[in-house]
Amino acid sequence: MTNTIQILSVEKTGREASLQEEYKNKSIKIIDGYLFSKKLDNRKFKQISRILSNQVSQKILTKDNVVKVLSNYSNFNWVVEINFLPGVTDNLGSTAKEIISDNLKNSFKKFHLGSTKIILIKGNKKNIYNISKKEANPLIQTIKIYPFKKYIDFFKKNKFELQEVKLINKKYIKREVDLNISDHELNMIGKLGIEEKNKSRRGTLGLDIESLKTIRNYFNKIKRKPSDVEIETLAQTWSEHCKHKIFSAKIDNIKEGIFKKYIRGATENIIKLRKDNFCVSLFTDNAGGIEFNKDWIVCHKVETHNTPSALDPFGGAITGIVGVNRDCLGFGKGAKPIANTYAYYLAFPNKDYQLFRQKNKKDPMLPASYIANGIISGVRVGGNCSGIPTPQGNIYFDDRFAGKPLVFCGTVGLIPKKIKGKLSHKKKANSGDFILMVGGKVGKDGIHGATFSSEELDPNSPVTAVQIGDPITQKKLSDVIITELRDKDLYTSITDNGAGGLSSSIGEMAKESGGFVVDLEKVPLKYPGLYPWEIWISESQERMTLAVKPKNLKKVIKIFNKRGVDATLIGKFTKEKKAIVKYNNIEVLNLNMDFLHEGYPKLNLKTSLPKINILRKKQIKNVNLINKLHKLLLSPNIVSKEFIATQYDHEVQGTSIIKPLQGKGRVFGNSTAIKPLFDNEKTIALSQAAFPQYAETNPYQMAACSIDTAFKNLIVSGANLKKIAILDNFCWCSSDDPERLYQLKEAARGCYDYSVAYQTPFISGKDSMFNDFKGYNKKGHPIKISIPPTLLISSIGIVDKISYLTKITPEVGDLIFIIGKTKNQLQNSEYEKIFGFKKTNLPNVEAKESIKLYKNFEKANKLKLFNSALGVDLGGVGITLIKMGIASNNGLEIDLSSLSISSIEQFLFSETQSRIVVSIKKNNVIKFKKLFGNSNIFKIGTCNDSNLITFRNKNKIYCEKIINFEKSYKQKIKGL
């Protein structure tokens, strides 16, 4: 009898190989184990071992063979055993349970199991400790380190133990909360949560005192005390995450708030001017939608998942990506996710920042490399397992992301314009429709996630705020919705269960009908013992909410169940404007819908002009130009991101047409494209840009540069200038500080001006306002690290014909031109960060000039005048040229002599916006010059069949082999 099955791979696995390499230790072996809640007799042990293992490549460890089998590998002396904490999503464990149950049916029932990872090592204890730090996260896992002898002993005496969720019986269904208390007490509730009987606090509500007083007045008026469920619900619904209070607040003299004035205002202005059907669905739905062609709509949404990714990078990132997938599934009647995008803003993974959340060096932040690698893998597993290509993304590094990484995850979706004759982007839950919860079950995961993202990351950050996505459960759910349900028109409305869980999804949908009544006891749970308030706000993943007409209910549930997906009737939409939640017929929540959604106190914000401190790097002189180019290529912000592109499946769905790695030399491109329909030429081009490096100096220009670059990259890829839409994701810091608010207002103003100037509408957006870390440094001193305000602009555009798609590889004999003037704009450039630069400025986008160039580019491209084109990005023209050289493996002879430039560095490394390097066949040059009117285009060289890139300026010549540049460009980033 035993309660564990432990499996080892006979050959060295990839994971073992990488661990062995990383720690320069050949004596590391990983064992995949399972722990059962009940004992297995010999027969069951054999049966289940066979189900869970591969007889050819793996061996099962038993009491009798363990010593002998393991002695074949090494003389191990230490063991690290890693188990999930009770209640944490264990995908491997659930799959194991499912296949055991399918195979053994009734002969083995009523059991729980958990997966366990056991690492055997020969080495010293410090080594073991380091490995455990890299391989496990104490927030979601238990890590036991013990001597190998003890491990053998555990086997012999059968002492392995499964930790199960143990919840005490519910002591109450609801609790009344007295809000007629002192301001101090109210503050405690807002900051630390409702107090339990034992004086412990539930965790932050993220409600400020004004909000709590508003709630108090509401309940005093109706002469009763609020229930805990009501307060928790209001905290979710009024959270910054759900209501975007800062963006809708009156700010200085802008009464309508910056969202209405600058973001939606820009789009409204654009729609007024254009007379087409390009904008289909804006700001109101889970994602924004534009017209793809006469029969289809594409939608796009980008979300952030910053705080969860700081705490559990893998879980945070995988939840981020599968979560935003659901935003597409919840767009209109349900769009099929057809592409993922990503952008990570991280601390340098090779640095040891040593930050602690608590005094006396307690509760350390995870190491920067752990965070970076966890985030990269989380999106990999989420995207790849969901069968959604992930072509488009980037990473940027800066020390100021050490306290909080920024993780942007986006998804593009596709949906027919009409479903059974009805417009697919319109949906409405009607009074009398049933509320159906579909997908995963509910546990304690992610409780207080929505309120939490409104708060700074401080020592009281609740650990339950972490969830781990389960892409396969979601894939099953998504398959049913997209392939079996949607086109039969069997539901009237659909939305995603994300932040705030049921409280938020049902609360939002009920606006369509009036109100709702929910019976919480019907909600299927992962484990018993959850309180009603927990069920109502839990953020357990992979769930969506449907509104279903009573006559279709049985049919819908049957279809879900046939595919192994739970679908549960939990309530009804009503026309009365009341939000009502019951548990076993006891009313735990009864609020006016108006109060629920609009009752929160509106903020009145003031801004103040910040003092700008520009720290200038001292100039480093006497470095050869070629060495400078190498140094820049090696910068983590410029170096190739091939290692991510090859981990993220960008070919699935058979739609990849412009891939992330471009040309023979596999250069990481700044835009990608997919062709989503097999029988239609139209292609979707994707790009994105952010310039946090400009935020502190000029937030207005930061926005301008982001919009310009994201827009330009699509123009360069071949997109139709009139069919480009953009999305805004504001990640800010300390948004209660008037100076930060000033920067926010400026950035939003920039958004308006440049969106209108380029006539590219905002279709969707999101904000995350408190990306600050408050804790202690390695000396134990208090420290606050705020991210630089970061505005990510994602762009999505339609390319009308395959032949319009450009490439980045010049051909032998081509002439090389730069489109766009190069100015002395190296401030905060990659070059200045490394080498310094005397007198220089920040880029300043001149929209009128730029749009003229883009229009001409579009025309020229349609006439097929370009053999190649690449937008100038970080590192300036110098780096852009080298990328084109590497991509094509053709030589470039660059001669700047005729341009009368002031210095070669200034010309090659300036990061002036709105510039494009193009290569043109000789016989097209006249047409090209005619089209551009000869101004703003500059001939700089030719493409040849040598293996060299040469830069000439008057009598100076600099020359390097492409292969050497390529070596620098493809250097591995340390720590990744």
């Binding site: 791979s9 050959e11 696995t13 990839g14 994971r15 190989a17 990488s18 189900i51 869970l52 293992s53 591969n54 007889q55 050819v56 490549s57 793996q58 995908n91 491997l92 659930s94 799959t95 194991a96 499912e98 296949i99 399918d102 195979n103 990999r380 597993v381 790849n384 397992c385 969901s386 069968g387 892409p471 396969i472 894939k475 099953k476 398959d479 392939t483 046939k562 595919r563 192994g564 290692f643 592109a645 090859t646 981990q647 993220y648 499946d649 070919e651 699935v652 769905q653 058979g654 990849s656 047409i657 891939k659 790695l661 471009q662 040309g663 023979k664 097999f678 798609l805 490439k807 590889t809």
Partner: protein, 254 residues
Amino acid sequence: MKVLVLSGYGINCETETLHAFEVVGFKGKIVHINDLIDNPKQLNDYQVFALPGGFSYGDDTGSGNAMAKKIMNNLYDALLNFESKDKLIIGICNGCQILVNLGIVPGININNPEIAMLENSNGVYQCRWINVKVSNDYSPWLNKINTLHLPVAHQEGKFLIPSNIFKIIQDKKLIGLQYINIKNQLASKKFPDNPNGSHNDIAAITNKTGKVIAMMPHPERALYYYHEPEWQNNKNRKFADGFKIFNNAKKYFK
């Protein structure tokens, strides 16, 4: 000519796989595994059974293992029956891993998996284009093909073959495809030509008749000319290399 394409539980390449068959002239249907379990006899209506790529059960307990156990437990006889007739089976990527775990390939002694799929040698998921050569001239799937340029995308693509089994595989010529370098020589396990460290550079294996093929590369993602990474330098053809695999299936029945 009809193809049944399997779906469900995390399989995710069914749409493009069916499309590839349709382009060469097949009619076909995507069938969820639960529906196939409910009515295995429907397989009789089809000439080709395709197990597409994806992440069945999220690769948990080893890629292809959980789905293979489900098939073994619920559909095995129907599958063996299908195989015994003059019909074709293809497993692509995750489908390949499932066929290997079922022991359908190499299928020397039926009922037992004889080879295994391991995690890539470098431990990292690989999505990239590779070159393979055809090493088995009698499989209908590979007929008259010399080399192919195709994408792979997998975490566990390394064939592990015990030496006694490898001898038989070599004798009976069951190796379908092998990774090669740009000089058209075997990749000799060198990354990235061999993206996963596979035994003897193996990328695909067939059963004894060649009618069942289990291949790690994705021919359905290399269907049209514009799927090729450098299609802009070579627009003179309509289809990319993957087309040939599906077209061979058509030729077999015509």
